[in-house]
């Protein structure tokens, strides 16, 4: 559900006259962000989560916990049990360690797939928007085709056929997700293409690539950052949904999605196992959405300061 966006009016140092004491959009955005406590808090949470997942091996070494080591005699240990700060799961594996490594997988898939689809989306969007013509027709045909198939079905079928590992899943999700970004970028590029500064640059003889890279790209960045934040959140949820249906990352590799799925039956016997992954997913996605909203507000040139 993308909102309609109109092109931000951008100050480009290269071609615009310098005006005293006016800030660039980027500077304005940063200023606005610092005044938005909600978004700042959310951003901090995201950064913390990412750091925890990146340093998962280090943390686990420090606390002497292991996400794969089973102890069948010590299943469903409570939180705060000896040697297991968050308790153990249904096979006696340390819960905290699995949460940390699960963060690696889930966040990795979210960031990876979103990042990859944005990269594809931007490249394709700028190229088709700039060149138009038959290239544009073909890409639009492909986008419409891809969008017309309910994505869950496509995802399920591909997952059933390929049985993905985390890295393959990233590729598959990126393959299904680049269409939105492409459309957005393409639209932007269309309008930017006819602006004076682009025409001028062409008149000077700048190469196509240079024009696309230096002029058009910076203008769409703000759009992209916003979609990125939301896309990551959506992808984390998709990963957990896939795990529930039986198609996602398969155990013993922990991911928040498959930990949440297998904890369904434990809600009464070991609630801490069920609550933690669900809470983590919800908080992470929540913060990502808030950051996305905050960024959109920050970059909106029409909102008065």
């Amino acid at each position: 559900m993308a909102t309609t966006q109109t092109a931000p009016i951008v100050n480009l140092n290269m071609l615009e006259q310098k005006q005293p004491r006016s800030k660039s959009l980027f500077q304005k955005a940063v200023y606005r962000l610092t005044r938005d406590p909600l978004t700042l808090v959310a951003l901090t949470v995201i950064v913390l989560m990412t750091l925890m997942s990146v340093f998962a091996p280090v943390i686990c070494d420090l606390l002497n916990i292991d996400p794969f080591h089973q102890t069948l005699s010590n299943i469903y240990a409570d939180m705060g049990a000896e040697g297991h700060p968050f308790g153990t799961d249904d096979l006696g594996r340390d819960h905290l360690a699995r949460l940390l490594y699960g963060a690696q997988v889930s966040l990795g898939i979210g960031f990876g797939a979103a990042g990859l689809s944005v990269v594809i989306g931007i490249s394709l969007g700028v190229i088709t928007g700039y060149y138009g013509g038959i290239v544009d027709d073909i890409v639009i045909w492909f986008i419409t085709t891809l969008n017309s198939i309910p994505s869950l079905f496509l995802l399920l079928i591909i997952s059933a056929v390929l049985s993905p590992s985390p890295s393959t899943l990233v590729l598959v999700l990126a393959f299904l997700g680049w269409t939105g970004t492409t459309r957005l970028v393409r639209g932007e590029t269309f309008s930017l293409r006819e602006r004076e500064f682009t025409v001028a640059a062409r008149a000077i003889g700048a190469s196509d690539f240079r024009i696309m890279y230096l002029h058009i790209l910076p203008n769409v960045i703000s759009l992209i950052v916003i979609t990125l934040a939301q896309a990551i959140g959506g992808l984390i949820l998709i990963e957990s949904g896939l795990s529930y249906l039986g198609f996602g990352i398969k155990p013993p590799t922990p991911s928040w999605g498959n930990m949440l799925t297998s904890s369904q039956e434990l809600i009464r016997q070991a609630p801490h196992l069920a609550i933690a992954p669900g809470l983590l997913i919800a908080i992470t996605v929540l913060c990502l959405y808030i950051v996305g909203d905050g960024l959109r507000d920050a970059f909106d040139p029409k909102l008065a300061d």
Binding site: Q70, S73, G246, K250, S262, E265
Partner: protein, 597 residues
């Protein structure tokens, strides 16, 4: 004014309290209900999970969902007593009144009750049994029960002992066996009676037509229930059939029986706990929540089933039947890893079975060491192969699977393993790596798979564990292209300790038989025959034979026997009249009174 007001308030309070009491008073604590209670006893809400029943035709039914439905409508020929587990005459749900063998013990004559009728008034006769068995014997249906016969209609050997089944007259069935068979009743009860007058109208003798419409709704039935209504992926429902003569109370008490489809066992348990379902069977990992729970009546029993890890002993790239049309053995080839008994025994030591029972099952099961389970009347004394990774590693080394780089993270490689020395020398140096599959959605088996994956990795064996769709699992095991799998056996009644039909060589039929492991042992084959032809079916003599069979399985370890679980059936507190017995937890459901509050 105030006094009137106060009086009105008191009056209203009294009335209010009174109305709250009425339901409690109306709930009759008396049980059993009188004849006016026919059909007034409420609705039984049960569940089934996973796939819908694939068929309502008992000749074709093989999966548990289908069998649950066909069991409602079609009687068996000889009944099994739900208390003793032994065949008995005149039992509800069966038609035999008496039976006798001839002097050679090869001809069994079963006399049917003459007072039983299908619910359209047609008498139940021997022709009904003959029709069903003829359909199976034709071999043109998808029925899996062909193995009860010695040969099919076209002469192909089917591995069974029954030569012929005929109707001597309307109420007498004559079954001829190849030899005296102490396990006869396992075989003849495989097929239910069907209303021959209806089926021959629908299909005649063109039995293949049955597979075209496997979900044809039963029209004429015999049982406490009738009028099947089926909403795919949602539920099926039946109503009380008061024409059934063998009810416990003289009439069928509940008015309706509904089985709702739930996606998995966890939702089913939650709905049980919520009071949404009347009755259900609880899986091992949730049984603790019902034990001692005052909202439920709980019944626990040992199950006549067990769970195991099956190995493919033959060459997975070239699946073959065990015997050809002439009964000659076909060379099965050897599985590169599991063809060696030493490897199988090593792997048994490498997995913590006791830990699985204590941890994954939370104690709701018993470890087994061979093809047996706690209810079996044969129990050979065998030393359990305890969890001993060091011993497992040593056995693997001796079997020619060597950890050549001293790094347990990489799998062992074959250096002088059996397959390389006897079949293909080029196999030297191959890693010890194989796939292990089980059906997704069965949490316990998925956990066992993860345990095996981890513990075998610790001794240098690389396992690719996958939980996949049950249909796909069956496809791979049927085709005998698998490496190993985790599944279970639900064993029929009466208890048959010979494992005939599971491990014997004639059951090794690609895509059809249960011996997907391609197991063959000459001594075992002889013992199967010996056990079923003991003179007078003397119990002690048979016991010795079956103990020897169990010991053979233990020595050869064709599969890893894991455990036999405990079943737990629960019913809500508001179900009256439930008296479960060992072999049939819900046998008396026509006498229940259900009054949810």
């Amino acid at each position: 004014m105030k006094r009137i007001f106060a009086f009105l308030v008191m009056l209203m309070t009294v009335i209010l309290l009174g109305t709250l009491m009425i339901p409690a008073l109306a709930q009759d604590g008396d049980y059993p209900p009188g004849p006016e209670g026919a059909g007034e006893g409420g609705t039984i809400i049960d569940y089934y999970f996973g796939d819908d029943p694939s068929t309502f035709n008992p000749i074709l039914a093989s999966d548990s969902a289908s069998l649950a439905v066909t069991g409602l409508f079609y009687p068996a020929i000889v009944g099994i007593d739900p208390v003793t587990g032994e065949p008995a005459p005149n039992l509800p749900g069966s038609v035999a009144e008496s039976w006798e063998y001839d002097e050679t013990s090869t001809i069994l004559t079963v006399n049917l009750r003459q007072d039983l009728f299908w619910n359209d008034g047609t008498p139940i006769t021997a022709a009904d049994y003959v029709y069903a068995t003829s359909a199976v014997r034709s071999g043109v249906t998808s029925s899996p029960r062909t193995s009860m016969f010695e040969t099919l209609d076209d002469g192909t050997p089917a591995g069974g002992k029954i030569v012929s089944i005929e109707a001597a007259d309307d109420y007498t069935v004559v079954i001829t066996f190849t030899e005296a068979d102490c396990t006869a009743f396992n075989d003849i009860n495989d097929v239910s009676l069907v209303p021959a007058h209806i089926f021959s109208e629908l299909y005649g003798t063109d039995y293949a037509l049955m597979d075209e419409d496997p979900r044809a709704l039963p029209t004429v039935t015999f049982g406490q229930w009738k009028d099947l209504e089926f909403a795919p992926a949602e539920r099926y429902s039946v109503i009380a059939d008061q024409s059934y003569p063998d009810t416990l109370l003289g009439f069928v008490s509940p008015g309706e029986y509904v089985a709702q489809n739930v996606p998995d066992t966890n939702v089913a348990v939650e709905r049980l706990l919520a009071g949404d379902l009347t009755y259900g069977v609880v899986p091992a990992n949730r049984q603790a929540e019902f034990r001692g729970n005052s909202d439920f009546q709980v019944f626990e029993a040992d199950a006549n089933s067990y769970v195991y890890i099956g190995f493919n002993l033959a060459d997975p790239t070239n699946p073959q039947n065990g015997v050809d049309e002439n009964g000659e053995l076909i060379d099965q080839g050897l599985h590169p890893i599991f063809g060696d008994p030493a490897v199988r025994i090593a792997l048994t030591h490498g997995i913590d079975i006791d830990g699985i029972v204590a941890g994954v099952l939370q104690g709701n099961g018993t470890r087994i060491n061979t093809h047996t389970y706690p209810l079996n009347w044969v129990q050979a004394e065998l030393e359990p192969r305890l969890f001993d990774p060091a011993l497992a590693s040593q056995l693997l080394e001796e079997a020619g699977w060597v950890d050549d780089d001293d790094d347990t993270a990489t799998p062992r490689v074959c250096q002088g393993c059996l397959y390389a020395t006897e079949v293909d020398a080029a196999f030297e140096g191959s890693p010890m790596s194989f796939t292990l599959i089980t059906n997704a959605g069965n949490t316990i088996r998925e956990q066992i798979g993860e345990v095996a994956d981890q513990q075998w990795a610790d001794i240098g064996v690389e396992v690719d564990f996958q939980a996949i769709d049950f249909g796909v699992v069956l496809e791979q095991t049927g085709a005998q292209t698998f490496d190993s799998y985790i599944l279970g056996w639900g064993l029929g009644l009466p208890v048959n300790p010979s494992a005939d039909g599971i491990f014997n060589v004639e059951s090794d039929i690609v895509n059809d038989g249960f011996n997907s492991y391609s197991y063959y042992n000459e001594e075992y084959e002889e013992l199967i025959d010996a056990g079923s032809t003991v003179a007078g079916c003397d119990v002690e003599e048979r016991r010795a034979i079956y103990e020897r069979i169990q010991t053979i399985f233990y020595e050869q370890q064709p599969v890893i026997f894991l455990y036999s679980g405990k079943t737990m059936a629960v019913a809500q507190n508001w179900v009256q009249g439930w008296n479960p017995v060992q072999w049939a937890a819900a046998h008396d459901n026509d006498a229940w009174v259900i009054t949810p509050d």
